[in-house]
């Protein structure tokens, strides 16, 4: 289990990063930052950061896409800050944690009055309300979506010049965390006027936030240059660097081809590269670089079994699938130790996590027995049939997730052993997304979601959100109302204890019904040059570059 420190001095951060490097079987302990003497941070220099894909939008609610999030996280400030290690909330633009009424339908924030946007305009109460109203309601005319993190938003109100209040039509216990996420990055008034096009590529220099960096130059699809904001002085209290960013500038260069990104990094042409695939980790480590793995604190990478499909209606079939898949073989053969085996539908570091024990044990004999009991008899070619119907299931390819195709290939081999035929749905992202909404096309859904809040489990499974289990009938009513009720309780319980209990109940129910099989806890993996110190990520693994400094 590897995590990124934040409430710590740079020296400590360096030591932990060094420990990471060692645990990543790095051959070169002498080059780790702690060993090379992490003295006082050095101000100045330009950091070169290699990104896997070009950003598509800088509208904060669209920042879930990693290339977008990496920018928004460094360009904007938020009302609250979430410690990426403890996941606790603390003030940022707000001067204190919000006052919340008893049923969590009303939030009152006291905000700082000394913060300015990079265009010189002040960050005011009116501006904060305008931001949250846009994120809470969206604007279809401008093709601006509602933030996934803000539910049941009703209205925002300026109470006085440094107080704002937000009200909700139903309990919204996740709102405090929601305003700490990059999806709630605060924007200047002029930027809030823009439409979806105006947040797209080519406009980055005009996206104005109050974060530690500003966009200085943009070459569409190729590179973006961030410049440090000299007057940035409102970092959250626990953030190690309280002043302006240590580096003068960051060059974010898009290098979509894996071998190019990794080759350029190991050849010393870049300082940090995002998305080091497991098969490249050894190459990066043996070149003397650190592997930094940031947990994403949400629903684990895994399979959702769509129980409304006739082939998966029988719990014994779902149990057989779980018993017939050897997760350890998959994780140990094609991943690294940065991909810990999942122990629940939620990651161990997620809020509300409950260990599910041996619920996912590999036992092919039991799997075969369960399928026998369910009436599935082995056919001539080894695939089981019942009443002339083959046990043939289709799974999507989770294109944004690491090695989804390889995972599914291994799973299909394993399931073949117990007489189940698994087919990988072929197609690009649009085709995958379209088919995934149709239970007749995709019966098993491979996915994950990162968000450091109790709500994340509802985001994944509720019929109102991602609905990965396709738990809705033709009229939109839940097929399994008990599951939906449990998920609604996560969002409705106004207290932390209540939400913890609700999360635990959902995880237990998912296990009991054999609805899901989680594979591993998906990290964001970065390769970092030894001369780079103080590299941190926010709570879902996006880089926070204000604390980075370069040696010599």
């Amino acid at each position: 289990m590897v995590r990124i420190p934040s409430r710590s001095r740079v020296a400590v951060a360096g030591a932990v990063v060094a420990a990471l490097a060692l645990s990543a079987c790095s051959a070169s302990e002498a080059t780790s930052p702690a060993a090379s003497g992490s003295g006082e941070p050095v101000v100045g220099g330009t950091l070169t950061y290699l990104e896997h894909q070009a950003y598509s939008s800088l509208y904060p609610p669209a920042a879930g896409f990693y290339p977008n999030g990496a920018l928004v996280n460094n360009l904007t400030s938020r009302l609250l800050y979430q410690d990426p290690e403890t996941l606790e909330l603390e003030p940022w633009i707000a001067t204190a944690l919000p006052e919340v009424n008893e049923d969590a339908t009303e939030y009152t924030f006291d905000i700082r009055t000394d913060v300015t946007y990079s265009d010189g305009t002040p960050l005011t109460a009116e501006n904060v309300v305008a931001n949250i109203e846009l994120f809470g309601t969206g604007d279809t005319d401008r093709a601006l979506i509602v933030s996934e993190a803000v539910n049941d938003f009703e209205a925002g109100e300026v109470v006085d010049e440094d107080t704002v209040r937000f009200t909700f039509s139903a309990p919204a216990p996740g709102f405090a965390q929601a305003v700490s996420t990059i999806n709630s990055g605060l924007l200047a008034d002029a930027t809030l006027e823009r439409d979806s096009e105006g947040f797209g590529p080519g406009n980055a220099t005009e996206i104005i936030g109050a974060g530690p960096f500003v966009v200085e130059a943009e070459e569409v699809g190729t590179s973006i240059r961030l410049a440090a904001r000299d007057d940035y002085a409102w970092a959250p209290a626990s953030f190690p660097n309280q002043g302006r960013p240590y580096v003068d500038a960051v060059d974010i260069v898009i290098a979509p081809e894996d071998s190019v990104r990794i080759g350029a990094l190991t050849a010393g042409q870049a300082d940090i590269a995002r998305q080091v695939e497991p098969q490249h980790e050894e190459e990066v480590a043996s070149a003397g670089l650190e592997i930094v793995s940031a947990q994403t604190n949400g629903v684990n990478n895994g399979l959702s079994f769509r129980f409304d499909h006739p082939l998966l209606e029988d719990i014994r079939v779902r149990q057989a699938l779980i018993a017939g898949i050897d997760r350890e073989a998959i994780v140990s053969s094609i991943f690294s130790e940065h991909y810990p085996l999942a122990t629940s539908s939620l990651s161990q570091t997620a809020l509300g996590y409950q260990d599910q024990g041996d619920a996912y044990a590999f036992d092919p004999e039991r799997a075969a027995q369960l399928l026998d009991e369910a009436g599935w008899e082995p056919g001539a070619d080894g695939i089981r049939t019942r009443d002339g119907e083959r046990l043939h299931l289709v799974v999507n390819e989770a294109l944004p997730q690491p090695r989804s195709r390889d995972v599914i290939t291994l799973v299909a081999q394993q399931l073949r052993e117990i007489g189940v035929e698994l087919e990988l749905f072929q197609g690009d992202q649009a085709a995958q997304t379209a088919a995934s909404a149709d239970i007749d096309q995709i019966q098993i859904y491979h996915s994950m979601v990162g968000r450091a809040d109790f709500d994340v489990i509802k985001s994944q499974y509720s019929i109102e959100n991602r609905n990965t289990l396709q738990n809705a009938d033709a009229d939109g009513n839940p097929v399994d109302p008990q599951l939906e009720d449990l998920l609604q309780q996560v969002a409705a319980a106004p207290t932390t204890e209540g939400r913890e209990e609700a999360d635990a109940a959902v995880q237990a129910y998912l296990t009991e019904q054999a609805y899901v099989l989680p594979f591993f806890e998906e990290p964001q993996v970065y390769g970092v040059q030894p001369r780079v110190h103080g590299f941190l990520t926010e709570s879902v693994g996006r880089p926070s570059l204000a604390n980075v400094w370069l040696e010599g």
């Binding site: 598509s56 669209a62 896409f65 071998s259 109102e464």
Partner: protein
């Protein structure tokens, strides 16, 4: 179609080569021919537009799905339907085709569904780097091809000639992707001669230009070698040789002229290769340009961008071949005769 490769008949050669003086063809015949060719070219572009549009729309899922239905955003079906209406994606495909066609005719290429940027802006930004890459790549390919052809036919040592003769088939068989990766690994990552990241404008071009030039040079060299062989087999060359003409003189006076037309013709066809090469080269070298724009648009099903790229490629392809066809008679008088006949 207008892209047919036209090669001159090898028979009927006369001493002095095909570029000898001949009366010009009557203007009216040339003009009618030119107009017919231009009409065909326009038809090809229009057909390409419609076909591309229908094929792109026939695929499952669309850009709205790709951009907004991604579970990452967690939008409800109602919100998606609203967005679909906002983008006009809920209208029948014929209406969308008509609107799109009208837009193209009036110079409005629409907006990218993925990024929201104006397609014309994206194309305007992507075109110059791709033109630089393709232009320089083509030049280098031409130089390479001439060099290979010269050495393969006039080389002083038989094994050398044979070695150079086998180069074009080899070049044709190597995937662009592989050339790019190997060049990067060796020249940039191992030897550290040219950085890929943080390189200046000139450095940025070196490896991509080499990468794209190699597969273009191969067919050019093959055509050149063939043309040189054919010319050298002509009796008038033997006569010139027997009178003491040097290899250089022959190459310049006889062979080059005869080889020009087939080379020009194949060059028109190779434009397609250049576009395909740009897609791969720009992705491998992390360059911006039309190829990269295409690759991204394919990945996100960005129909307006793809539509524009297809039409621009078709127009460029057709125009190049049209120019080749119209210029050919000026180079080779036999083609003028053919028209008149």
């Amino acid at each position: 179609m207008s892209i047919a490769v036209r090669r001159p008949q090898q028979g009927g050669q006369q001493a002095g080569g095909p570029a000898g003086r001949r009366p010009a063809a009557p203007r009216s015949g040339t003009r009618a021919r030119a107009l017919r060719r231009i009409g065909q070219a326009a038809l090809v572009v229009a057909a390409t537009f419609v076909l591309a549009f229908l094929l792109l729309h026939a695929l499952p899922g669309d850009a709205i799905v790709a951009r907004y239905a991604s579970p990452e955003l967690g939008l409800s079906p109602e919100q998606l339907a609203d967005l679909r209406a906002a983008y006009g994606a809920d209208q029948p495909v014929w209406v969308q085709l008509g609107l799109s066609a009208w837009g193209f005719l009036t110079g409005d290429l629409g907006t990218s569904l993925q990024t929201g940027a104006e397609v014309s802006t994206l194309i305007a930004a992507a075109l110059p780097p791709t033109l630089a890459l393709a232009g320089l790549g083509f030049l280098l390919a031409a130089v390479l091809a001439v060099g290979i052809a010269a050495l393969a036919t006039f080389g002083r040592w038989e094994p050398l000639r044979r070695a150079f003769r086998s180069l074009p088939p080899l070049f044709v068989s190597i995937p662009v992707f592989w050339i790019g990766i190997v060049l990067l690994q060796v020249v940039s990552f191992r030897l550290g001669l040219i950085p890929v990241i943080g390189a200046n404008a000139a450095e940025q071009l070196v490896l991509p230009v080499v990468t794209i030039a190699i597969p273009i040079a191969a067919p050019l060299a093959q055509v050149l070698i063939r043309a040189i062989d054919d010319t050298l087999a002509e009796p008038y060359v033997a006569v010139a040789r027997s009178r003491g003409a040097s290899a250089g003189w022959l190459l310049q006076r006889e062979v080059a002229r005869n080889a020009l037309l087939p080379t020009l013709t194949i060059a028109g066809v190779l434009f397609g290769e250049l576009i395909a090469g740009a897609v791969v080269t720009e992705t491998v070298f992390a360059r911006s340009g039309l190829g990269r724009l295409t690759a991204d648009a394919v990945a996100t099903r960005d129909i307006p961008v793809l539509q524009a790229v297809v039409v621009i490629s078709a127009v460029a392809f057709v125009v190049i071949n049209l120019v080749v066809d119209l210029v050919a008679p000026a180079i080779d008088p036999r083609l003028r005769k053919e028209v008149r006949a």
